[in-house]
């Protein structure tokens, strides 16, 4: 195989793992997928491959691990230039713009979404929702500028930002159930709403993205688990 041995450690619900799987699918690369039990029992291989963060996703290429979803996707693009379409644009300025928005998606949009979803107080959740809307508004404007009337951030075909945002799609479509409000809305974010539908219809998306209902159920359970753990920790702290 031209690509060598590719193994991906992930979990079905992980948006970060979804990004990597989308990228692999779009490139047409075959790989072995390993579903990790990250809450109960992290595997030896995961702990050995990502000793610093002990998190998924980890892409192991010919035995060498690559961690962090944005880094993994760039790696895939650079390590397999002759296989499948390019993910990042060719022009350095366009690449810089793509990298800027990828960082924004993670540092602003996703971070605020998480606050809206499981902020510790109602106040925090409210602030998260507010900031999440600011972020998605900025992203809507970015989409307009970058797509130039075409279907994707990448133009006629999907590119880096489509993958970066697309990996989050199942969770984002569960926003109403999880954050109390839709993230994409035909009135507020018409371009991104249309993009979300278009992206979701792609073969790669259908193959990789988890069912929204299943994600919502899982997310609610996770949120309850995290809250219970925080309460327990606080109880121990006050006792001591």
């Amino acid at each position: 195989m031209a690509e060598g041995e590719l193994k991906l450690l992930g979990t079905w619900a992980s948006v970060w793992a979804c990004r990597v799987r989308l990228a692999l699918h779009l490139k047409g690369l075959s790989y072995e997928y390993v579903e990790e039990e990250i809450f109960s029992n992290k595997s030896e291989l995961l702990l050995k491959s990502n000793p610093v963060h002990k998190k998924v996703p980890v892409l192991i290429h010919n035995g060498k691990p690559v961690c962090e979803s944005r880094i993994i996707v760039e790696y895939i693009d650079e390590a397999f230039p002759a296989i499948g379409p390019s993910i990042l644009p060719a022009d350095p300025y366009d690449r810089a713009v793509a990298r800027f928005w990828a960082a924004y998606i993670d540092d602003k949009l996703e971070a605020e979404w998480v606050r809206a979803y499981r902020g510790e107080t109602e106040e925090e959740k409210r602030e998260g929702r507010k900031q999440m809307f600011v972020a998605v508004e900025n992203l809507e404007a970015a989409f307009k500028e970058l797509s130039k009337g075409k279907p994707f951030f990448g133009g006629d075909t999907t590119g880096y930002l489509d993958v970066m945002l697309g990996g989050l799609l199942s969770w984002q479509l569960g926003s109403e159930a999880l954050c109390g409000v839709e993230l994409y809305d035909a009135a507020r974010t018409p371009l991104l709403s249309a993009w979300a539908q278009r992206f979701g219809a792609l073969d790669a998306a259908k193959a990789v993205l988890p069912d929204v209902g299943r994600v919502v159920e899982f997310a609610k359970m996770r949120r309850a688990q995290i809250a219970a753990a925080a309460e327990a920790a606080a109880a121990v702290a006050t006792k001591n």
Binding site: V52, H61, V66, E74, Y75, A79, P92, Y93, R99, A103
Partner: protein, 242 residues
């Protein structure tokens, strides 16, 4: 030295901002002449606000009128556009091989996600307890980076090997702030006893032409930290008064 015909380059920065320092050093490593515009972040100027409307932060590289934001994005851009340039200290900032690039990006992200917030947390802490907690986090991060240095440098002088590379820039820009934390709180973030490799690396880094030109003295960082603290205190008071 400077590449001809690559267009007009401006950099909006702040002398003590580690992020701006990265961008300036990258340009210096490539021998790119640029117009440097020091910004007042307490009274943001028009050009900054127009060039980085989303985050309103430095650094911003403006190349032929087109803005590029986020320090690591800028460093990669400079590396790609001025690929063939260099001032004799070494040309490529990121290595050529994809795996080497992934490792370099990983550690730069680690510095931004783990080390930098903890370090700033030391500055921002309002209680001794909180400060101690952030110091602990900072030391833990630096310990990881000490190991990373051993792996990445492969016995050579820098994370990038024989010459200053991506991770060297990502970490080296924090040296004035390590100095500031030493002066303000008596904390040695890196030292010969606990992090011998990084301590030796820091000296070598400081000796490079680019560092000598761009890195400010720690007391500049101390001065700025005091300004920031006054600003944070005022903002907290204003928020509490609401």
């Amino acid at each position: 030295m400077a590449e001809e015909g690559k267009g007009e380059v401006k950099l909006l920065g702040l002398n003590v901002s580690p992020f701006a320092i990265r961008a300036r050093m990258a340009l210096r490593l490539k021998g790119v002449s640029c117009e440097y515009l020091e910004q007042d972040l307490f009274h943001k100027g028009d050009l900054l606000l127009r060039s980085n409307p989303v985050n309103r932060k430095v650094p911003v590289l403006i190349h032929d009128g087109k803005p590029i934001c986020e320090s690591l994005v800028i460093v990669q851009y400079v590396d790609e556009v001025w690929a063939a340039a260099g001032d004799g200290e070494g040309t490529a900032i990121l290595p050529a091989d994809p795996y080497g690039r992934a490792i370099a990006r990983f550690w730069a992200a680690y510095i931004d996600d783990k080390l930098f917030p903890a370090l700033m947390g030391i500055m921002k802490a309002t209680t001794e307890e909180a400060r101690a907690e952030k110091a602990k986090e900072t030391f833990a991060a630096v310990e990881q980076l000490e190991k990373a240095f051993a792996e990445c440098s492969d016995g050579k002088s820098f994370f990038g090997g024989d010459s200053v590379g991506y991770v060297d820039l990502a970490l080296g820009c924090l040296l004035p702030w390590f100095g500031a934390v030493r002066e303000m709180f008596g904390l040695e973030i890196i030292d010969a006893a606990n992090t011998p490799l990084l301590a030796a690396w820091a000296e070598r880094f400081g000796e490079t032409a680019a560092a000598k030109e761009v890195l400010p003295e720690p007391d500049k960082a101390v001065e700025y930290a005091k300004k920031l603290q006054a600003h944070w205190t005022a903002a907290a008071a204003a928020a509490a008064a609401k």
